[in-house]
Structures are given as structure tokens and as C-alpha cells.
Symmetry: C2
Subunit: 495 residues, 2 copies
Amino acid sequence: MFESAELGHALSKGEFRRIEPGLRADLLDAQYALSQDGRFPVILLISGVRGAGKGETVKLLNAWMDPRHIFTSAFDNPTDEESERPPMWRFWRALPPKGKLGILFGSWYTAPIIDRVFKRNRPSDLAREVEAINRFEKMLADDGALILKFWFHLSKKRQKKRLKALAEDPETSWKITKRDWDFFKLYDRFYAVSEEALRETSTAWAPWIVVEASDPEYRAVTVGRTLLEAMSKRVAAPPERRAKKSDAAPLVHPVDRLHILDTLDLSASLARDKYRKALARQQRALALLTRHPSFRKHTVVAVFEGMDAAGKGGAIRRITAALDARLYRIIPIAAPTDEERAQPYLWRFWRHVPRLGRFTIYDRSWYGRVLVERVEGFAAEADWMRAYAEINDFEEQLARHGAVVIKYWMQISKAEQHRRFKQREKTRHKQFKITPEDWRNREKWNAYQVAAADMIERTSTPHAPWVLVESNDKYWARVKVLEALVEALAVRLKG
Amino acid sequence: MFESAELGHALSKGEFRRIEPGLRADLLDAQYALSQDGRFPVILLISGVRGAGKGETVKLLNAWMDPRHIFTSAFDNPTDEESERPPMWRFWRALPPKGKLGILFGSWYTAPIIDRVFKRNRPSDLAREVEAINRFEKMLADDGALILKFWFHLSKKRQKKRLKALAEDPETSWKITKRDWDFFKLYDRFYAVSEEALRETSTAWAPWIVVEASDPEYRAVTVGRTLLEAMSKRVAAPPERRAKKSDAAPLVHPVDRLHILDTLDLSASLARDKYRKALARQQRALALLTRHPSFRKHTVVAVFEGMDAAGKGGAIRRITAALDARLYRIIPIAAPTDEERAQPYLWRFWRHVPRLGRFTIYDRSWYGRVLVERVEGFAAEADWMRAYAEINDFEEQLARHGAVVIKYWMQISKAEQHRRFKQREKTRHKQFKITPEDWRNREKWNAYQVAAADMIERTSTPHAPWVLVESNDKYWARVKVLEALVEALAVRLKG
């Protein structure tokens, strides 16, 4: 990929002076149009070899455009809040909102490439990470982001010359450290690994643009024009109209009448005294596990889904009753805030991912995409269809970083739901739990069951299994919820 | 303050069982009403001696109410992101939004009290911190927050007994460490220091409620009832109507016609060649200062205010041109997001406070409160009047933590503004900078000048001075802005 970036591309200073004013004004216009349009963010990755002028280019872009609306982020060593979360967390928190330009100095490519150069991981690890990156960028692109990835290249000879020049100039010598020379010794290895990573991740939705970086004027104009063209083209594109309609047909046509949720024995129940004993035993076990020394290296991400009145809240409270209040956070899913709406769908869940040694319990979750948004037609089919894979990726990242990811589907019968609705209407401090919307959703019972079955089918993974909970009897359900959590956590901690 | 919390208050288990169900239902109702009301947050501080059941009480509150809408935060050791900001930053980020209950385990009281007990600070330091806390809590209360501060007290004898009991029970022995016994040895000192701190901070707007903590039932019901009563009373209170009207009268009646902004010589200018040289010199000096070893222990918070078209953006760009793009973040003040509107006024500025070694440049700022919001009547008089003191407190906290706080008022003449507006309308890539609103604001020129003069008068402090910049000539203005920054930073870094 680097061949044509060693040809000696250059632009004269005179030519540059002629081009710059117009380019600058056009970029400013495009930035303003982006902001007015507000439909998508622009994500610019600036990567490449040391001494190739990445910093100068970012500075120039900030000078050309309005720096007040550029989100520049650099990724050096992670802070402790970052290193206690999955590696991608720090990038999610740095994503620009829709309508803005984000410049990322260093990115999700840095660690995989460096690890491979220093042989801290295997070739298969790089391949896996490359694939994960492609899926991540696809998700951003599907969500509307314009992604441009610049790689600043220098031939070996030119990089050596450049590092020497920087080291000898008293103005810049502080920039060049022993680490730079150590890296330079591995030039050929960096070349090979980077080329592989770039080749495998230069996609239609997030292409790499390799720029020969030895001539500052050529470099600057290339980046500026590429960015300008991509932004202008996108802003000029007509808004995409994706048909949104309620979808109640199962993804796989049911040839027989067997349905995963129908296999549950909803008559399962537990007597009050047995419940009390079992509950106390499981709560005690859970409390002990949170004091296990390895828990400091893990997290718990628990997800509760189910029909209205299935007992999610009650089950959650039986978990939290066993926990120190400092250890957990419950995230009830409400309408997204405007900051959340300006970001990719999963952003509002990523932001609550727990630190090590903590629980996050989601009361409803990212599965809303393939449940309520599918059934009610709030999301286009293409969007909820891709959500299955995006969700699996997200949960895999959590699990890889030490999270016990556990997901509960709490199943009740339609008759039991009716009974509970009526009861809520009668109980003073439960009245607020029942709204006309609940009755409306109930009319779509079958469509929700179909969506839930598809969801369970497509997102049950070894690292993040669904636990199906027979919930007509609250005692039975709560004990099952706790048992499953205790078991999953014990396996992980003592594994 | 602790006398009546050593009387042996207790509640029988039977009595508790009789009271609990009603109290619980009432609390749940009140929590729901709070959420529906949405006008204010409830901030609950849970403090007191070790072994007094703080954790159990928080757990119980979470069990009684809906834990999904309680924001529980604990403050142990600060993360590195926290310790790189002023001490209050971590508390600001944990404040509950309006309509929600936040329980704070440990608080802004912990460090001042412990530091004083261990004599790491002087009595005068504690007095100063106590005063700062009062002002902080007043600000929260003025902003609408309901603040309740519980202090769990145990007599010396009872604390000893309690620690022993915890240490001997295999279920709880892990909770008691050597540190607890070390603290216990200082019981009398803790008693004296805490009592002083509590007495000085028990205010009408944020009262301390000392609870005798030896009896779990008494403790729980006392907290529950106090909370219930305060919440119910507040929700029932009629919405406060504060008259909002445009205010253009100076705070001090002008006896003569001297005006701080009139003293500026707006004819000050710089020739192009002198400008170029001076600019290059100052930018170089600034770049060098950011590489000074002590800069890693400091931050820069720069604020730009001025009439429309005064040249704020241009001046900011001349600063950032000298900086590595990784080092700064520009915050252009736009309409608050809904997450920001659910918090106290200063919250949206606190969230962008820089880490050590970084700049945050605010393009317009918290001064909007005493400028546009005053002049246009967006804020009630009581609110913008208190803002002067709140802002001084905020900036003092920044400065104490190593920030160079520098504030620019860029002054142009009314005629010069007119010329620039006209010019903007003609220049292609500047057209978006001029809107009908700019013309409307211009009509209130005098009111803005009055508000600016009051602002400068009341918020010019040694730790955060205003720099008045004659800005009719852009060259002059930009060089003056840079010079002031370089000087302030040099003084701070080089002592």
C-alpha cells in the first residue's frame, strides 16, 4: 500500500500559496455546512510513522477551519478510568457528535500494530483485531459517520533524515526520544505489520488514504482536498429515506409451531418458606463473591428484559439487596438525551460500562433496538437487523475485559400480565407503574414474543448467554435470577 | 451538636415493623412525585463515624425506594482523572439531575475533617474550607436543590462496642481494618473537629441532622421520616415565580460619567510588520512555556468575552496556533443540552475543566449569566446577582489547583462593530457569522456595556484578573492577548 507514497510527491511553495486561500475558505464552508446539516459526524484518523508531520497537519486543519467546532483527541497512555474498562471505551467517549468534526490522533489501530511489531501478540490476534475493527467502523458508518483514515508514510531513508533533522534542530530536539530511534530500528517490521493492517481495513465505508509525508505542502493539500471532497459530497447527498414499519414476522419462517419461549414451564413455582431460605442463601453467596479477591479484576454487566410487569424491578432489587450500595449502578432505560441522540446507538450504553469491581444493571437495554424499536417500527429494518451483530461485538468486548455478562429474559403468560396490570391499578404505590402505553403494548403481545425469540436465537453467545426465566411465580423467578448470577460469577472468579 | 445523639434513642422491632410498610409506600410515592415534578434534585449526604451503619442505611433506602432512580456515589480515593482537577470536580460530576435523588457516601466534608484531625492543615484552613462549603451548598440550594446532611453518631463507648462486634463476627470482620482502630484512638479529636465543622455548616439551606446510630431501627426510621417530610414539603410548595426582566441599570449609580470601558484607548494599533514580529515572538514564548517542566502541574483556563465581532475567534486562533493540538480544547458556548439543563448553572463549565498540562479556552463562558442573561432578562435578578460570588468561588478553586485563569474582555467601538458586521455580510466564508440576532443585540449596546463594567468590577480578582483588550485594531488586540497569557503563565511556572 505504500508504493505510491514513495514516489517523491511534492508541491512547490508557490503552488501552495496559490491553492491555500481557496481551499481554506472551502473547508470552512464545508465545516459550516456539516454543522447546519447535523446528520452525521466526520471522524478523521491521523496515523502513520513518527516524524511524518501528523501534529503539524492537525494544527493546520485547526487553523484552516473553525477550531471551536473540531474535537481533537489524542490517545497516549490510558487514564486509570480508561484502563478499568474495555480498550474501546476511551474511543467511544471521544467520538464527535453529529454535525462535528473529530480528529483522532492515534486510534484503535495503535495498540494492535505495536503489539504485533513487538510480538506481544500472535498473527492470529492481529487478524482477529482487524476483523473487530472492520465491524466497529462499519457500525459507525452504518450509523451515518463519514470516516476518513489518513496514514502518513515516509520511506526508511526519509524517516531517518527527518528524525535526524528534528533531533538536531534545537527548536524540535525535545520531540525526539530514544523510543523514536528504537522504533526506527524496527522500520521494516513496522512497514510490514502496518501494511497488512491497512490493507485489511481499507474498506468502502472507511478507506485508508496513504499520504507521502515528506513534503509539508503536498501533505497538507492532499489531506485538505480529500477531506473537503468527502465532506462536500456527503452534505450534498440527499437524505436517505429508510422505510420504517412495524415488523412482526419471525426472521425464520416457522415450519412447525415450536417456539423457544413456549418451551418454558410457566407453572414453575416455589413455596414461600423455600423461597426465603433459597433467597437468603443466594444473596449470601453473592455478597461473598463480591468480596472474593479476584472480583477486583472483574465486572458484572446484567441485563433485564421481558414483557411489562414481568418482575424485572423486583428481581433487580433482590440482587442489589445483597450488594454494598457503592458497588452497583442501575441504569433504567429512558428516552435518550440530546447528547445521546447525537451519537451512535450503543453510545448511551457504553457510557455506563462499570469500572473493575463494580456492577452495572441495565433495566431494559440495547436490546430495545430489536424489541420495541423493531415491533413499533421506530428503527428501519436495516438498522435493527445489523444490531444483532453489533450487540454481540459489544458484549464480547465487555466479556474479554473481564465482565460477567448475563442477560435475563423474564417470561410471563399473557393472563398473568393481565392479572398484574389489574393489581397495579389497585395498589397505591404501584399505580405509577401502569400507563395506557402498557395496555397498548399488550395488544402487540405476539409480535413482541416473535421479536424476543429472534433476539434470543441471535444473541445467545458463550460469553453472554441469555437466561430464560419462568416468571409467573415471582419467588421462582427471583431465585432463578440470583442462582444464575451466582453461578456465572463463581465460575468466572474461581474458574 | 452530639449531646442529644447520646441519649440512647431506640425503637422496638415491633414498632419498626408497624411503621415500615407505610413509610416505605410514602417514600416511594414521594420519589415518584419528585420525578414527576422534575424541578429540583435531592442531595443526601450520609456521613458520620465508622461502624455507625451508614452502608446499611443506604442499602435500606435503596430497598425502600426505587433504586433505579437513586444515584448512589461513594468517594474513596480519587481516580487520576479526578486528582488532576480541583477537589470539587469529582463531586460536581456526581450531582444528581433534577427530579432525582442522589445519595453521597462521603462528601466534601471528608477531606477537611480528616486533614484537621491529623493536623495536616491549620485551624484557619478548616475555617476557610467550611466557609467555601457553605457557599457551595448555598449555590446548590439557590439553584433549587433540596439538601439533607445526615451525621451518624456513636458515643465513644458504643463505637468501641460496635467495632468489636463487627470484628468478631466472621460475616463482617473483613470490614474492620487497622485503620478503623487507628481512627478510633483519635475519637476525641474526631469528635471535636467534626462538631466544629458541623456546627459551622448547619445552615438553613443545608441543615445537618445528627442521628444517634446505635439502634438500627431508630436510625432507619429517623432518616426515612426526615427525608420523606422534606421531599413532600418541597414537592407540595408552589412553584417559585421569580420575575425576569431585562436589566440595564448599573449596579452602582453613576455619579460622574467615568466608565471603566471608556478609559480604554481604542485607537491603539500596531503596524503589520511589527505585528508579525511580535506575534511570532509571543507564540514562540508560549510554545516554550508549554514545554516547561512545571507546566505538567498546571493548567490554563482562558475565557473570551466581548461584543459580537470583537475578534474573539481570531485571538483564540492566534493562541492555538502556538499549541500542540493535543494540549487544548476550545469550548464554544452554545445552548445547554438537556443533561446540562438538569444541573446547576456552572455544571456545564465544570465538566470541561482541563486536566493538568492542558488548556481549556472558553469562547464565551459562565459570564453569560451576568451579560446576556441579565441584559435579555433570561435570568432573574436574584440569580444573576448571586452569580458574581459563585463565579469568584469557581475561579478560585481552579486557581488553587494550579490553573492560570485569565479572562479577556475584548472592547470595540460601536462604529467598528458596524463596519465589521457589514464586512462579514460581504465575505463569503464569514457570512454565517452574522445573523439577525447580532443586529438585535447591537441595539442593546449600552446595556451590554453597563453589564460588562459591573462584571469586570465584581469579578476581577488577584487569582483571575480581567484583561481589557482594546480591539478596534486586530493586530494590537491579538498581540495583547498573547502577551498577557505568556506573562501570566511565565509568572506562574517560574515563580
